[in-house]
């Protein structure tokens, strides 16, 4: 059996997070709203209405284009894509066809096992979404809320070579969209939708075989599973002498299987023509510069810089740049602390991230600011508090909004390194636990850890662990 490679391209639809729709002033996000409540004459296709372009849509899409290294075209056009469907109220979708907002572009995709795959972007344009159709009790119910919600359609070249690469691309895309604050990019809510085109060929070949299209995947895991299942199916089919036909497949996530939706023999003719109701989109130098001024350092660039500049391991850099606000937090904490960035990384990844996840607070809204975190680490470094006090301080600052220093002073959390005071506590512990003392003295000296724990407990974590251990050794050996 020859070795096969998969050829995968992804067609993504990205719902932009604008406040209003692309061509009218209805609220764009209808999540959890009752059907047909965010609609007006324009987005429900009444006779006589006209679309008016929401500039923010252009700006957000252009920002994505810039992040994908695509060229933002000075002039682009809207076109009508004509077809009949009940949830398409005008009978055509306003989209862009031959002169879209941006051309070219790519993403260099770092894979976990170390190599990088360049994914070319074939197409990037803006368009309006259609409504939703639901079949219920033999009736077709139409919800126009989603009509006119702004979308970016972005299509990759056939550049992905495995189900993992396809999943990784979506992960990176989702990260980027949130980073740029242009989409919520939630696949479960349909803010990010992906259809996969899959074909296989013997490894090393350079032709393209007939492909199938997988639709209806609504998570990154589902996409990976669906693509893998389709690769396996195609290999099996070819190995058993069969042919691959250009099917459209539907992924059933519950059953974990692909189902054939339809054969795709002929391409539909959408009779594209220029949308006469909208002027060309002209992005002059002033507007372009204003848009590009919003373009931040991108997640993969920042990730590389963290590894280079702060000498962080790839693992740390990846987690810290998972979200833009977290990476900003980290950098501010590094500055506030002034010492080893890896030490800050450990604190952020363990303690701050836990707080963010447990309390569902974004990094920029934490009351334990990067400056406070730097202060805590410095307190630990100086020996004024021990590590476990430091860790509990992270939560205390978040709870009280007081500075670490104030809390340490107010609660007397400073390390007890006063010999006499410690000896008092340790003597009490020894007296109260004669059984353990004899165990120790019987030769099982590892039980000293248990004694340290007891002392810590009694001192409410303030005992200097080093000193405690040496006093314990001294007293128990008597």
């Amino acid at each position: 059996m020859p070795e096969y490679e998969a050829i995968i391209g992804l067609e993504t639809h990205i719902q932009l997070n604008t406040r209003t729709k692309i061509f009218c002033s209805c609220k764009a996000d209808s999540w959890n709203d009752p059907p047909n409540t965010n609609i007006c004459p324009v987005c429900s296709g009444l006779p006589g209405v006209l679309p008016v372009l929401n500039d923010t849509v252009v700006e957000k899409a252009a920002l994505l284009a810039a992040a994908m290294k695509a060229s933002i075209e000075p002039v682009s056009y809207f076109d009508r894509k004509n077809y009949f469907y009940p949830d398409l109220p005008k009978g055509y979708q306003i989209s862009q066809y031959d002169m879209p907002l941006a051309l070219g572009g790519y993403l260099d995709l770092p894979m976990p096992d170390g190599y990088t795959r360049r994914i070319d972007i074939h197409k990037l344009h803006i368009e309006e979404d259609a409504g939703k159709t639901k079949n219920e009790n033999g009736q077709r119910l139409i919800d126009f809320n989603r009509c006119g919600v702004p979308l970016v359609e972005m299509v990759t070249g056939p550049d992905l070579r495995s189900a993992d690469e396809a999943a990784q691309y979506l992960l990176r895309l989702r990260q980027l969209l949130r980073w740029l604050d242009i989409s919520e990019a939630d696949m479960e809510k349909g803010h990010l939708r992906a259809d996969a085109n899959v074909s296989i060929r013997p490894k090393g070949a350079d032709h393209l075989n007939p492909k199938t299209e997988i639709k209806n995947v609504n998570s990154i895991v589902a996409l990976r599973d669906a693509v893998q299942a389709e690769i396996d199916r195609q290999i099996q089919q070819v190995e058993s002498g069969g042919k691959i036909e250009a099917w459209t497949l539907d992924w059933d996530d519950n059953a974990g299987v692909l189902r054939k939706m339809r054969s795709k023999e002929t391409e539909a003719d959408y009779r594209y023509f220029r949308e006469p109701d909208l002027l060309p989109v002209r992005i002059d130098d002033t507007w372009r510069e204003a848009i590009l001024a919003q373009l931040p350092e991108l997640p993969l660039e920042r990730r590389a810089r963290f590894m280079r500049e702060y000498e962080l391991p790839e693992y740390d850099a990846d987690i810290l740049t998972g979200e833009r606000t977290l990476s900003d937090y980290f950098e501010q904490a590094v500055q506030a602390y002034g010492g080893d960035p890896k030490r800050v990384s450990n604190w952020v990844m363990n303690d701050v991230l836990r707080l963010i996840n447990d309390r569902n607070v974004p990094a920029e809204k934490l009351r334990i600011t990067p400056e406070y975190l730097g202060e805590i680490i410095k307190l630990v470094d100086s020996g004024r508090i021990n590590t476990s006090t430091g860790k509990s301080l992270v939560e205390k600052v978040e709870d009280t909004n007081q500075s670490p220093d104030e809390i340490v002073t107010a609660e007397g959390l400073g390390v007890v390194s006063d010999d006499a005071a410690l000896r008092g506590i340790i003597s009490e512990v020894i007296e109260a636990n004669p059984e353990q003392v004899s165990t120790y003295q019987g030769g099982k000296t590892t039980i000293i850890g248990w004694f340290v724990g007891q002392v810590m407990k009694k001192s409410r974590g303030k005992a200097d662990p080093q000193l405690t251990r040496s006093i314990l050794e001294e007293l128990l050996s008597k």
Binding site: P41, V42, S44, G45, L46, P47, G48, V49, L50, P51, V52, L53, R80, N82, F84, P86, P89, K90, G91, Y92, R140, I142, D269, R271, F273, P276, D277, L278, L279
Partner: protein, 531 residues
């Protein structure tokens, strides 16, 4: 002369002065409607009734109650000393291709017969805000597809007030017939290939197609979106200027509406036309068409009576100080109709997609289990022959395998037509024209039933008007006399982008120069007989 025969500008002035009331004017207009209009168009007119052929039948839907409420409000405002607006108490009609909140907005089609618009078109809203009193919605060719008004699904269709055996023209035939017969001083029409100017010429009134984008299209049920222009219909140039001033200007609901400031078209009429260069082009004194059997371009001169009326118009303008420049080449005029056939139908077919029986309008009463069957039956039953022809043609010429050959080629022709205009209006060019003077139509109003059914022949009624729609430039049709049958003749003035004021000045200058002519005293047959 009744109150309803007064020009809009006089009605407004007299109401402002308190000399007449808005309600009096309205009642006069309503009396005129009941005297001349006969029964309104309906989907199910039954047998022909006696007298149908002598009436105008401009209306589909009279909004008398709404109008009375508006007129009373004007009178109350006057009593309270409030601002009345420049169209105070002026009764006007609206071509039923515009949405007006709470009124049936039918487009003259069965498929929209039950559609009550939930919003009001920008231009209508502006007229009402200026104090205009909406008399009702008037008939038109179905979805504006025609030049005679005979294709409306609402019958009886309008007749020409000067001779009810003749068509009023179209597609704004209800508008021009109503204004000619004194059923409102103004009407809001639309012009996609000549649909304001051609019926204005046939009915002896003033019709203006503004520059594309000068007037918002919001609320205008679309035909050819890149060609459609709302435009005023009035009995004189000053009223057309007054109405244009009211409806023109940027609109946040229409991104293609121009944001250029709106000139004072009315006060601007005082300016002289001395020294203006007005051109005559031989390309506008003939019609060219493709021979049915050979496919070769053939040509015919326009009627001699029309030609001499236009030359006489040029003479009056010369008296007023204009320079008449002859032999202006407009070589691509002859391709206007074929290119229009393609472009307008591609846009029309797409614009008609939304009428699918799903959301509003007509839906087949038959039970269907298969979705495409709902579309097929609904559209087969709801659309008349003209929309169907346009859908067939539009779908054909925009199909992937034909669009280069037809649609894209037509767009290139359109560019050439635009270039004809740019060259003759170029202030640095060889011709430096302020305007072109042409006949509006190749013939005067033709008999009812004579041309209808031949959509190619019908289209040639637009040959002299459609180039302005391709180019986007403004065109004004003014009455300049009558032929020997007693039918009105219209002259057309065409100018560069946003030159409406110039065209109106020329039109007004002609009115002043020809004021003493006997034909100016004529009144439409239906009005004279209705007395």
């Amino acid at each position: 002369m009744d109150l309803c025969d007064l020009p809009a500008i006089d009605i407004s002035r007299l109401i402002h002065l308190g000399e007449i009331s808005a309600l009096e004017v309205l009642e006069s207009a309503l009396e005129r409607v009941s005297a001349v209009d006969g029964r309104p168009g309906t989907l199910d007119p039954g047998d022909k009734e006696s007298g149908d052929n002598e009436k105008v039948h401009a209306f589909i839907h009279l909004t008398a109650d709404r109008a009375r409420a508006q007129a009373e409000q004007i009178d109350q405002k006057l009593a309270a000393g409030e601002d009345l607006g420049p169209l105070a108490g002026v009764p006007f009609t609206v071509k039923d291709i515009f949405c007006v909140q709470g009124t049936p907005s039918t487009a003259g089609s069965r498929i929209l017969a039950n559609f009550i618009a939930p919003y009001t078109a920008t231009s209508v809203a502006r007229m009402e805000a200026a104090g205009g009193v909406l008399l009702g919605k008037v008939n038109l060719d179905e979805f504006t597809y025609g030049s005679s008004n005979e294709s409306s699904a609402f019958k009886p269709t309008p007749r020409n007030p000067w001779d009810p055996e003749k068509v009023p023209g179209g597609s704004s035939g209800g508008s021009t017939a109503a204004v000619a017969a004194g059923q409102g001083a103004l009407s809001l029409g639309t012009d996609t290939a000549g649909s304001v100017r051609q019926p204005a010429a046939f009915c002896g009134v003033v019709g203006l197609k503004p520059t594309y984008g000068r007037v918002s299209r919001y609320g205008l049920i679309a035909f050819g979106s890149s060609l459609d222009c709302p435009g005023p219909v009035a009995r004189n140039v000053t009223d057309a200027a007054l109405m244009l001033k009211t409806i023109a200007g940027a609109d946040k609901s229409d991104g293609t509406a121009a944001s250029l400031p709106v000139p004072d078209y009315v006060n601007g009429l005082r300016e002289s036309i001395d020294g203006m260069r007005i051109g005559l082009s031989p390309d506008y004194f003939r019609i060219t068409y493709f021979d049915e059997t050979t496919g070769e371009l053939d040509e015919q001169p326009i009627s001699a009576e029309i030609e001499s009326a236009i030359l006489s118009t040029a003479g009056f303008l010369a008296q007023m100080g204009a320079d008449i420049v002859e032999d202006i080449p407009m070589p691509h005029t002859k391709y206007g109709v074929p290119a229009y056939f393609v472009i307008s139908r591609v846009e029309a077919a797409s614009n008609l997609h939304r009428y699918d029986g799903v959301k509003y309008g007509y839906r087949t009463p038959e039970r269907v289990d298969y979705l495409p069957e709902l579309y097929r039956k609904t559209r087969a039953e709801g659309f008349g022959p003209q929309p169907k022809l346009r859908i067939l043609m539009g779908m054909y010429v925009s199909a992937a395998q034909y669009s280069e050959q037809y649609y894209n080629r037509a767009l290139r022709v359109r560019t050439l037509i635009r270039r004809d205009f740019e060259q003759v209006f170029d202030p640095q060019g060889p011709y430096r024209l302020n305007a072109l003077l042409t006949p509006t139509t190749p013939t005067t109003a033709f008999p009812m039933g004579e041309v209808y059914g031949d959509s190619v022949l019908m289209q040639y009624a637009d040959q002299l008007t459609v180039p302005a729609n391709h180019a986007g430039v403004p065109g004004l049709s003014i009455p300049v006399g009558f032929d020997t049958q007693g039918l009105p003749i219209g002259a057309q003035l065409l100018g560069p982008d946003f030159s409406e004021l110039t065209l109106l000045q020329i039109g007004r200058a002609y009115e002043r120069a020809s004021d003493g002519e006997d034909w100016r005293q004529r009144r439409p047959t239906v009005v004279a007989q209705g007395k």
